[in-house]
């Protein structure tokens, strides 16, 4: 009864194509933003920031990027880890080469560099489709990780092969490096997450987004309406890699602080982000956030319950994590192959009609 649309007719096409046509949704969105920017920082503990909020935002950005490629354009990619690594290493090189450059520019530049690399590795998608493409993207995953490991220039010839983020400030607040406060890091990532979500929404609702979805649904028909498959696929790879590169950049500079490429950006990362996208919902921006939240919260919850609560040894809890993630993925795919976002949509539909059943 409170979630009504009746009487709420749209008189202009502009109003009709809003992101949140229902007033309740719009209010809720602003409320969430207000809470995220104003309320949470006041109560944020170091643990919550480092274990939950910051990784959530970073992974959400990565999931957003992968969703553009897999969910909107239908190109299955298992190279996410490699591209995040490119973003991270680009950031490292930029930070060390240009100590005066501000972090926002560095991160955006890292994203652009990753976009270029992504477009390059996306070239095979013009000839190869489906699973074959997924396996081809594995080539980029393994090759990039190997390259960043082998060529010392990438890690400034350091003996350990590790890269670490030097300290940087933004408006007088330290964001990177060991002295950065979690709250500052959180806000920094939050700004990027919201900005990139807005960007993703705009791109997917317009001509470019339609060309992506056309390629996904039927690439032959897409050509008929004038979509150049080369441009559509490469742009999808480029934009997706832009997002993923930024995620990698933030992951390294703000979250981890230091990284070693084979540990931090291996194939498990590629699978993890893919799970986020599937569980959250393919082709849904909201779904990318939900999927990321799920994959971040679940291990934390499990650890607290099993190890903290029931006193199980950590390795046993880790094994259980695998079982539960695997099992949940299967259950999700059976019950709602379109992910949590679809479940939310269905729930919304029911809520619109409540208290009537249909």
């Amino acid at each position: 009864m409170f979630y009504r649309e009746s009487g709420d007719f749209k008189k202009t096409y502009q109003k009709d194509s809003q992101t949140f046509p229902i007033k309740f949704d719009r209010m809720r969105y602003y409320f969430v933003l207000a809470v995220a920017f104003l309320v949470i920082p006041m109560f944020l503990t170091d643990y919550m920031a480092n274990a939950v909020m910051i990784p959530f935002l970073v992974w959400a950005i990565a999931a957003l990027g992968l969703n553009i490629l897999v969910g909107y354009t239908g190109q299955l990619s298992l190279g996410t880890g490699g591209f995040m690594a490119v973003g991270a290493y680009a950031t490292y090189k930029l930070m060390t080469a240009f100590p005066g450059m501000d972090m926002v520019s560095i991160i955006l530049l890292s994203g652009l560099i990753t976009a270029a690399v992504g477009a390059l590795f996306g070239l095979p998608s013009l000839r190869i489709k489906g699973f074959y493409l997924a396996v081809a993207t594995l080539a980029s995953q393994f090759f990039l990780v190997w390259l960043l490991n082998k060529v010392p220039w990438f890690y400034n010839y350091s003996a350990s092969g590790q890269i670490s983020a030097p300290q940087r400030e933004m408006f007088g607040v330290i964001i990177t490096g060991p002295h950065a406060t979690p709250v500052a890091a959180y806000i920094f990532c939050l700004v990027f997450a919201v900005g990139l979500a807005w960007l993703a929404r705009n791109l997917t609702r317009g001509r470019l987004g339609r060309s992506w979805m056309a390629i996904r649904d039927m690439d032959i028909a897409a050509e008929i309406i004038g979509v150049n498959p080369l441009m559509a696929k490469l742009s999808a790879f480029a934009v997706s890699s832009f997002f993923i590169g930024i995620a990698g950049s933030l992951f390294f500079s703000v979250y981890l602080g230091a990284a070693e490429v084979t540990e931090a950006f291996g194939i498990t990362v590629s699978f993890a982000v893919l799970f986020m996208v599937i569980i959250g919902g393919l082709g849904s921006i909201f779904g990318s956030f939900v999927g990321a939240a799920f994959m971040v919260l679940m291990p934390v919850l499990l650890k607290n319950v099993l190890v903290g609560g029931m006193g199980w040894p950590t390795d046993l809890a880790a094994h259980f994590e695998y079982i539960i993630v695997g099992g949940l993925i299967i259950i999700f795919l059976i019950v709602e192959p379109h992910g949590l976002a679809q479940m939310a949509r269905v729930l919304k539909e029911k809520l619109r009609l409540w208290p009537f059943p249909h």
Binding site: Y132, L138, F142, F143, V151, L274, I323, I329, L333, P337
Partner: protein
């Protein structure tokens, strides 16, 4: 012959045998993909699980002992008996059949009409699940697999080829691992029997029918469910063989499941639907990988085996998107 030439031959032979080992894993993929259109990412983990089960049964391990100990505070680990190898293998095959039945009933059955990517995702979920499950059931410490297979280099071959190098060159004889040679033989026997099975038996024919067209197979009375259980059981058996070979080589541990990743370039090359393709693809990848590392690896820092197989397969695919033997994807407008 020069020592260099002999080394190159050795590299090639080792490459061929490594390739055969990859093909063993790739075979399982091909079987399942042919019969159900599913790309079974869990094939590697199935090999790991099969090997774990074999060792567990052989050494008389108590399943889930770690979990039981954590819940009940007990400290049990083994039954105390040893099971003879042949019986253990038979029991493990039985376990894999039960696995196939469960997978069919609880997963495949519910996902029948979904798109391939959904099915693929489900197998990834299955892989994760089986990974954790295997660890909880048998423990995640490294185990040695001993089924009586020979190991170590073939002394006979080394001695025999000792004098083949040209005058004045240092050569220690050709080193080929006995286990690798046995594995190659086993793989060839497996491939031949699978091919005979598929071509000449009724069940084999039914499998091929299902691989071609589910609807048509149903309409002539073939039970899809039964076929899928059979296929997954055979794939489970193939996984067991792969698990034994790889496990005997490097111990039964988590990294065994990663060989599935190595099988992927093999499949890309050979096509997802061809049994001979899995072999040929495996051989090409095996030799290519080893030769590249031997010839060019030292110049660019080594460890190229991490990615070379993929790049090689990728280049093949660009010119022939369906692989060497795969079915050409024809899209009718």
């Amino acid at each position: 012959m020069s020592a260099d030439f002999l080394y190159t031959i050795e590299v090639i032979l080792n490459g061929l045998m490594a390739g055969v080992m990859y093909s063993l894993v790739a075979l399982g993929f091909v079987l399942i993909f042919k019969a159900s259109g599913i790309f079974n990412y869990a094939q590697g983990v199935m090999a790991l699980f099969a090997a774990l089960t074999l060792v567990g049964i052989q050494t008389g391990q108590i399943p889930f002992s770690h979990l039981i100990n954590a819940i009940f505070g007990t400290n049990i680990h083994h039954f105390g008996w040893q099971v003879p190898t042949v019986l253990a293998i038979a029991l493990t095959v039985g376990v894999m059949v039960v696995f196939a039945i469960i997978v069919e009933r609880y997963i495949l059955h519910h996902l029948v009409n979904q798109e391939p990517i959904i099915l693929f995702m489900a197998t990834i979920g299955l892989a994760y699940f089986m990974e954790g499950f295997g660890d909880i059931m048998w423990g995640s410490d490294i185990k040695t697999l001993d089924v009586g297979l020979p190991s170590g280099g073939s002394r006979w071959l080394e001695d025999y080829t000792l004098g083949w190098a040209a005058e004045g060159e240092q050569y220690y004889g050709m080193y080929l691992d006995k286990l690798d040679m046995v594995a190659s033989l086993v793989a060839i026997v497996l491939v031949v029997s699978l091919t005979i099975f598929s071509q000449y038996t009724t069940t084999g024919r039914a499998l091929r029918a299902v691989a071609d067209d589910h609807q048509a197979a149903l309409s002539v009375g073939i039970s899809l469910r039964t076929i899928w259980v059979i296929v997954w059981s055979i794939a489970g058996f193939v996984a067991l063989v792969a698990g034994i070979m790889w496990g005997a080589k490097s111990g039964v541990q988590f990294s065994l499941s990663l060989i599935a990743l190595k099988a992927l370039p093999v499949l890309m090359l050979g096509g997802f639907t061809s049994i001979p393709g899995a072999i040929v693809g495996g051989l090409i990848i095996g030799v290519g990988e080893k030769l590249f590392e031997y010839a060019i690896g030292p110049m660019i820092g080594g460890a190229t085996e991490n990615w070379f197989a993929y790049v090689l397969a990728l280049m093949f695919l660009v010119f022939r998107p369906q692989g060497l033997f795969g079915e050409k994807i024809i899209e009718r407008v």
